[in-house]
Symmetry: C2
Subunit: 246 residues, 2 copies
DNA sequence: GGCTGTAAGTATACAACGTACATATCAGAC
DNA sequence: GTCTGATATGTACGTTGTATACTTACAGCC
């Protein structure tokens, strides 16, 4: 799809597999395999060698599609964002400015983002962490397109630039932050039937952490999608009518 | 904390120097050194060997104070949280229930958190990431005490348990999320005088990212503390009076 | 003093990792 | 066929985390 798709020689009638043994390597094949590997075995298991074996290839072959391990990690963020972007489906702004549903669209972006995070929980650390190191203009296109999309939606609110960016940062922060908090491990020993031991609450002295101990068992008992949406609305409402007294 | 001048006992050869006595190692000395190292040289430079040399010690000595590298990273989060907690100063709830300033206290927590993040930017990835892997009950005491403190503050709002936890997650998410978004790299080439090149905007085709390009130069132009506070208020206002129709 | 048990730090060694560099293999244009 | 560039392999090296075994420092007792 992008400028570097695979070369299609399909126009010819004889579609002979390019290689009888294995399909040619591709950047997206490498990245997808990396995500799959991490989904399966965790981030720590992502080594060049493991990834290479998964692809039936020697480790050094990967360096043609990602210039190093760091670049590979960035590539996984790219794959993640691409999945979000595609998950959004048709641009939906379709024919000429359906003016007022920008808020619903924003909610959809947040929803899909969290859904993809659900599909690839182990990739989340990368998604939240890598943009701290790579400057805006060098982020993967998929991520930039997502950003642009959000800005386009906010544009329909008819705010001035500063207010728009204010909301932009708020939306991004909330989506990422809620993702992080909602995904924190609360269960200590999953096989334990007794809730108190399952959560490991015996480690929390009642005298020091009374409320934490009392509420911990309720921590996971909520509707993430609803809460995500409610927070988003709260931010849009509360920050939308900012006083420009600066 | 014990602070003692350390000397490298470089002189060998059978001479017994009168004062080659190094300060004893300590868990907090190790963790502080780790944070200092990362602040100075970045996360990638944090190796057991580098840390050991900084402390004037052999690498294996560290394993008595942190059972491995992962544990060391967790320890740094611990140090971070401790710094936040101490930065809060006196408990301030002082004499018997000063009822209504819980919101102001919450704002202070958020403020201090961000201030500490400012002091140790390179530790932030760990702070947001580690809790995804370590279950609640195994988190460092400093972090738990912070959590307990926030819960205690929210308690004063007089909500039921579900609403309290709702706000609890929202506050945590917002503080972390805004931290992340606000700290994302936007500058590409810091030494470039021309803003367009400094941000690397020439990499963003106008046709594909019109708004991103137009607004990027304003992205860093805002008051983080004010925005953090405003978002916090928006969430507290918008989520405080939820309808319990679940 | 000297002896001794325990904690603190050292010394050595090793498997696994990322990756530089040189080589082999293959698809298509001539 | 041969040539040529892109693609994948093979080998090798320096670093990393850490297991294991050893040495030193010191407290308490005689």
């Amino acid at each position: 799809m992008d400028r570097e798709g695979e070369r299609s020689s399909a126009a010819r009638g004889g579609e002979r597999a390019p290689s009888p043994r294995r399909a040619r390597l591709t950047r997206s094949r490498v990245l997808d395999a990396a995500v799959a590997l991490v989904d399966r075995d965790g981030l720590a298991a992502l080594t060049m060698r493991n990834l290479a074996t998964d692809l039936g290839v020697e480790p050094m072959a990967l360096y043609r599609y990602a210039s190093g391990k760091q670049a590979l990690l960035d590539g996984m963020v790219e794959a993640f964002c691409a999945e979000v972007y595609e998950g959004l489906g048709p641009p939906a702004e379709g024919a000429g400015g359906t003016g007022r549903d920008w808020r619903a669209e924003l909610h959809r972006v947040a929803e899909v983002f969290h859904a993809v995070a659900d599909a690839h929980p182990q990739v989340v650390p990368l998604v939240v962490t890598r943009p701290l190191d790579v400057p805006l203009a060098r982020r993967p296109p998929a991520m930039l397109r997502l950003n642009e999309h959000v800005l386009a939606l906010l544009d329909r609110a008819g705010l001035d630039d500063h207010a728009t960016l204010r909301l932009y940062r708020a939306v991004g922060g909330w989506v990422l932050g809620y993702l992080l908090v909602d995904r924190r491990q609360v269960v200590d020993n999953p096989d334990e039937p007794e809730p108190l031991l399952r959560l490991g609450l015996h480690r929390l002295p009642i005298s020091e952490y009374p409320r934490l101990r009392a509420l911990a068992r309720l921590l996971a008992d909520h509707d993430p999608a609803e809460e995500l949406a409610a927070g988003l609305d709260a931010l849009l409402d509360g920050l939308g009518d900012h006083r420009t007294d600066d």
